[in-house]
Structures are given as structure tokens and as C-alpha cells.
């Protein structure tokens, strides 16, 4: 770890101008005599690497940060997301990935389940090839409340010392993972789309970043455990085996550690809405197809194909469509058999939410639109012309059967 040093002696009007321009965050300023870096600096070090030689320097701090003994931390743990006896399917997807990662470093795979009748659900996990399922069962853990769940989770980490922890990026996981990570002073990477394992047990976490068309590869080189969250439908769900394997371990925690300032008063099932993340066929519209006419056409195509409608973030922001139809980092992740993208440019946040779909067809009038980088079938053209012809063709075909 270190900091940026400005060698003021080397600064001149020309290279100062260059540096001001090169900084992607506008953190460098020059007043005609002195170069300054403001707190907008994100320490990306582009000024050191790409700027005029020697002006900006990255100075390593003399005292290295204390590092952990990584050999004391063993195992990859998946947090079991559940509501009562229903285990969220993201859990199985994560176990599948955890087994792949664990194989690289020959670590065991653990599952951690916290709840009132957790042991019952724990048995289901034994068909998925985990080595151990750790169970915290208590009346106080009946419903999700942040303090007791965090206490149980941290008790598990203290006793078992897992190297990596994977949590589903559900509404519950998105609260629990950061709270636990903060208590452990551990690194946490949200919404990873690719995970890899290094020989030295560092978990390589890749996610779209800077809210733009860029991927960031992130590691926690001197902290354990390493936390990540992953959304539902990012990894494939493994098939359960016919036989059970692994061991269920009941854990004990002191009652007074489970105190909470939260009281659950009532619970109601959400009405079963259209869930785009479960759909097999999706027709998605973006800014290029947001007119009423285009959307009506898209809807017709969608109905003919038996799919559901989805959209990009701008359409939600403009109140053209409801947020539950939104695909992307701030919406849902989908993995359908077919997705037809109409008038969607394909920003990375959108692409991150749909690029593992089996078949991606995109129609856009801009031949340079990034959607064509993820599409299996790209069509440069006018949505309003092509879709009606396609509809006609499908109807003709249906009439001939």
C-alpha cells in the first residue's frame, strides 16, 4: 500500500495539461505553478502508468500491511439462503461453483445454514456434494434479523475459519454479507460474474465496474475470509446426486449473543408476479424501441412466442415500464433460452444481466452498438420494419401447420 507523490520539479505547463486530461476522475488540477491531486482520486494510478514519465510516482509505504497466515484459513463456504424450508436456488448454483473452486486448492466445501428448523433443510444439501453443512438452530433465528444472523455467521467464521465465503445476492444476502464482512474487516465484492481460484487461495473476483463498459478483477490479498456475492442465474445449477454425502454439524451459540432490536410483526407472501429471471423466452426493449408503437409490436411478438417482456434501465427511469421488468445490474439477471433485444444499445450493466442466455438476437439501427458484441445473431436495421415482417412470417407459419 502506498500513495501518490507529485514530483513538482518536473511539472511544466505541457505535461500538467496532459495529466489533467488523462485522469479519468478529474482529480488532478494545475493552477499554473503547482499540480494538485484532490480527493476525487481513486488511486487507479493511470497518471503513473500512462502520464508523462516521472511526474507522478507511486510510493510504497515502508511498513507493509500486516497479512494473515493464509494456511490457517481453509474451505469454501456457501451461505444457504432460505425462507422457512424453501432453499433459494442460488444456493445450489453457488455450491456448484464452490466445488470447482475448491478443487483447484484441494479445500473442502462447506454450507452454512442459519434458522429455526435449519437441520431439516440441511439434509437436502447432502445431495449436492458438500463436505460439511454447519447448522445454527434457535428460536431467535426463526426470521431473518440482522443482529442474530450476523452473530451466528461470525461465530461460524471464528470457529471454522473458511478461506472464501459465497453469498447469494438476494435481498437478504445483500444485507447479511456486508454486515458480517464489516465485522470481520474483510473484503467483499458484490455481484461477481466470474470467479476463479489462485493456487495461493486468493479468490479472483470479476465484476463489471465503474458503472461503465469495463470489467474489474478484484482480490483480497491480505485478508481472510474473502467474501463475494453472486446473483441468481449467473452460474449453472448442478444436478443433485442420487446418494447423500457429507456430514451435518450442529453448532452452539450462547443465547445472549442472539439479541436483536428488531421484532417481526407480520409476514405476507408476495403476490406471484411475473418474474423475468424465471422466464424461458424474453423480448426486451430499450431506448430505440420505447415508443408506444414499438412496444405494442414487441408485446405482440412476445405473446406469439409465449415469453415475457423486459426492458433496460432508461425505460424504467422514464416510467415507461415497471422496475420488475428491468434486466441488468440494478435489475434482474436472466438466463432464458431466447432473448430478443429490440433497440437496446447494450451497456455493460445490461449485458451483465443477460449475456449467459442460450440464444441472443439483437436488432439495432446502430451497427456499432455494443449489444452486437454479446448477441449471437445481430441484425442492423429498423425494429419497426423488421418486427412486423417477422410477426407476419410467424403467423403464416402457424396457419400452415
Amino acid at each position: 500500500m502506498g500513495q501518490l507523490k507529485i514530483n513538482q520539479g518536473l511539472v511544466n505547463a505541457d505535461n500538467a495539461k496532459e495529466l489533467v486530461k488523462i485522469c479519468p476522475f478529474g482529480a488532478i488540477s494545475y493552477d499554473g505553478a503547482k499540480l494538485d491531486v484532490s480527493s476525487a482520486c481513486k488511486m487507479c494510478k493511470i497518471c503513473v502508468k500512462k502520464g508523462p514519465a516521472g511526474v507522478m510516482e507511486y510510493v510504497e509505504e515502508e511498513e507493509p500491511k500486516e497479512t494473515v497466515d493464509k494456511s490457517l484459513w481453509k474451505g469454501i463456504c456457501v451461505y444457504v439462503d432460505h425462507e422457512g424450508e424453501n432453499i433459494h436456488r442460488v444456493t445450489y448454483e453457488l455450491i456448484g461453483k464452490a466445488k470447482e473452486l475448491a478443487a483447484v486448492i484441494k479445500h473442502p466445501v462447506y454450507a452454512l445454514i442459519i434458522g429455526k428448523d435449519a437441520a431439516k433443510s440441511a439434509k437436502k444439501l447432502l445431495r449436492y456434494g458438500v463436505d460439511k453443512v454447519y447448522v445454527y438452530e434457535d428460536e431467535a433465528l426463526c426470521d431473518f434479523r440482522i443482529e442474530p444472523y450476523t452473530a451466528a455467521f461470525c461465530d461460524f467464521i471464528d470457529k471454522v475459519k473458511p478461506s472464501s465465503i459465497m453469498v447469494g445476492a438476494t435481498n437478504l444476502g445483500r444485507q447479511l454479507a456486508p454486515r458480517v464482512a464489516a465485522r470481520c474487516r474483510a473484503g467483499l465484492t458484490a455481484d461477481c460474474t466470474v470467479l476463479e481460484m489462485k493456487e495461493n487461495t486468493d479468490l479472483v473476483q470479476i465484476r463489471p465496474a465503474f458503472g461503465g463498459n469495463i470489467m474489474a478483477q478484484i482480490i483480497s490479498p491480505s485478508n481472510r475470509p474473502q467474501f463475494c456475492t453472486v446473483r441468481y442465474k449467473v452460474f449453472a445449477e448442478p444436478k443433485p446426486s442420487d446418494t447423500e454425502s457429507g456430514e451435518i454439524v450442529l453448532m452452539n451459540i450462547a443465547k445472549d449473543a442472539l439479541a436483536s432490536g428488531i421484532e417481526i410483526l407480520a409476514k405476507t407472501e408476495k403476490p406471484r408476479d411475473i418474474d423475468i429471471s424465471e422466464a424461458d423466452i424474453i423480448v426486451a426493449v430499450g431506448r430505440g424501441a420505447k415508443s408506444e408503437q414499438s412496444r405494442a409490436m414487441a408485446k405482440e411478438l412476445c405473446d406469439v412466442l409465449g415469453g415475457v417482456m423486459a426492458c433496460t434501465r432508461p425505460l424504467v427511469e422514464e416510467n415507461v415500464m415497471d422496475a420488475k421488468h428491468q434486466i441488468g445490474l440494478s435489475g434482474r439477471t436472466v438466463k432464458p433460452k431466447l432473448i430478443i433485444c429490440l433497440g437496446i444499445s447494450g451497456a455493460v450493466q445490461f449485458a451483465a444481466g443477460m449475456k449467459s442466455s442460450d440464444c441472443i438476437i439483437a436488432i439495432n439501427s446502430d451497427k456499432n452498438a455494443p449489444i452486437f458484441d454479446v448477441a449471437h445473431y445481430g441484425i442492423v436495421g429498423d425494429v419497426n420494419e423488421i418486427v412486423p415482417m417477422l410477426l407476419e412470417k410467424i403467423k403464416e407459419d402457424a396457419a400452415n401447420v
Binding site: M1, I22, A40, R179, I340
Partner: protein, 262 residues
């Protein structure tokens, strides 16, 4: 009740491009704005104080220019606000950001309720709120759909989990993150804008904090490190369907047919 709302200045547009040759981020000239998700949190805060009394303050972490969004929050009805700004905070990940904000909140005063937006549009992690609450040692609840009542030192909220909606009471002080689209945020008042004075915005830097260990802030206080950044990989299985609209439509039809999708 005294409420603190955590807000953030984000780029006006989320389209950041990478120069394919140099690998450098291209800065677009679009101005900064307040994170749109924070507006819902501000609206919840304002309507609570209208009903139950008390004041709303705001806090942000960022460069000195982030004062602009504190000004905006004051125009929406906040009493005053704080900018946490220091080069030592640069390069912070979730852990260091949350720690810095919690130190800043301790410095600002005591609050009954801290409100965050669901997430930011630039980081998209939705994690900082929960980590801040941990460092303040108070309960937190995310995905709050509505604040139904405040009574007997508790706040009554409706919360959206994945398949269920939960009504719960939470002891104050606590931190809540509110969902988006739960209200219609008010517009900033032009009248207030004309009366803004400099003493309404306070700047706090590292030197003001209780914890003076620089290793807890910024890049040094971060557990995660960005090893590299790279453009997303492009799909290799690519076909383009060309011709006039009719030929293109029939090309799509053939794909759907061959994949047994129609």
C-alpha cells in the same frame, strides 16, 4: 426526531468507455448529479420530520465539489450537511468507505435514524449502508418500502425480502435503506437556493476524526484490490443477419424455427 441521510455524488451519465488502445478510461464531459436513489431516502426523511418533528441533515464523502449535492439536499429541506473530504480517503473500497462514513457520522452528532438509498448508480453494490450500521453498532434494515409509524423509541417499517413482505419494528437509533420508487421526491426549492450560506455545509477531513490510524482509510484501509481492469470479452459465436428488412425478418424466423422456439 433527528435524521441523517447519506447521499453520494455520481457521474451524470453511467456510460464510461475504455480507450481500446491505451486502456485508459475516457472521461465524458457530463456533469455530476446526486445519486437518484438517494432522493427517495431524502423524501422519506422530510416527510417523517414533517409528521413527527425534528430535523434532517445530510452527509456525503467525496471531492470538495460534492458540496453541490449537499446544497441540493438543503434546497429540498435539509437543515445542513457535511462533506467528508480528504485525499487520504481516496481509493476506498466498501470496507474503507463504510468505516470513513461511520467515523464522519460519529463526528457530526447523534441521530435517531440514518437513511440510505438502495444503492448508487456508479458502484451498484448496495453494501455500504449495512457496513456503516455495523461500525455504528446499530440495527439495520434494507429494502424498506414504507415507514409506517414512529412510536415508543421504535420505527415501524414494511420491508421487501425476496418472496415475502415483512412488517417489523426496529429500535432507534437504527439505519434503514429505502427501496426506489417508494415515493415522489420533492423538487429543490429555488427560494431556499437563494438563501444558501456557506456555514450550512461543514467539511470534515482525516484530521478531525477520532481514529487517527491512516491505515483504516482509503486505499490502505481497503481489503480488496483491483488487480486489473479490462474491456468485457466479446462473444465469439456471432452471426449477422443482413439484407433488406424482409430478408432479415426471414433470417430471424429461420433461427427461431431451427431452435424449435416456434
Amino acid at each position: 426526531m433527528n435524521i441523517l441521510v447519506c447521499i453520494k455524488q455520481v457521474p451524470g451519465s453511467s456510460n464510461v468507455e475504455v480507450d481500446p488502445v491505451t486502456g485508459v478510461l475516457k472521461r465524458d464531459g457530463v456533469a455530476s448529479k446526486m445519486n437518484p436513489y438517494d432522493l427517495y431516502g431524502l423524501e422519506v426523511a422530510m416527510s417523517l420530520t414533517e409528521k413527527y418533528g425534528g430535523t434532517v441533515e445530510t452527509i456525503t464523502m467525496g471531492p470538495p465539489q460534492a458540496k453541490a449535492i449537499i446544497d441540493e439536499s438543503i434546497c429540498m429541506g435539509a437543515k445542513c450537511g457535511t462533506v467528508l473530504s480528504d485525499r487520504k480517503f481516496a481509493g476506498a473500497d466498501v470496507l474503507a468507505t463504510a468505516y470513513t462514513i461511520s467515523q464522519g457520522i460519529r463526528k457530526c452528532g447523534e441521530y435517531d435514524l440514518i437513511i440510505c438509498g438502495k444503492q448508487t448508480t456508479d458502484g451498484d453494490t448496495a453494501q455500504v449502508g449495512a457496513e456503516v450500521s455495523e461500525y455504528l453498532g446499530i440495527p439495520c434494515v434494507a429494502n424498506v418500502l414504507s415507514v409506517d409509524d414512529v412510536a415508543d423509541g421504535k420505527i415501524y417499517v414494511t420491508v421487501s425480502l425476496d418472496n415475502i413482505v415483512v412488517k417489523e419494528s426496529v429500535k432507534l437509533p437504527c439505519l434503514i435503506s429505502v427501496d426506489s420508487d417508494i415515493n415522489s421526491p420533492r423538487l429543490p426549492s429555488y427560494k431556499v437556493k437563494k438563501t444558501l450560506t456557506d456555514d450550512m455545509v461543514k467539511f470534515i477531513s482525516f484530521a478531525d476524526f477520532e481514529d487517527q490510524d491512516a491505515n483504516h482509510y482509503g486505499l490502505n484501509g481497503s481489503a480488496t484490490q483491483v488487480e486489473r481492469i479490462f474491456p468485457p470479452e466479446k462473444n465469439t459465436e456471432k452471426h449477422s443477419i443482413t439484407g433488406d428488412a424482409k430478408e432479415q425478418a426471414s433470417g430471424i424466423f429461420d433461427v427461431l424455427k431451427s431452435r424449435k422456439l416456434i
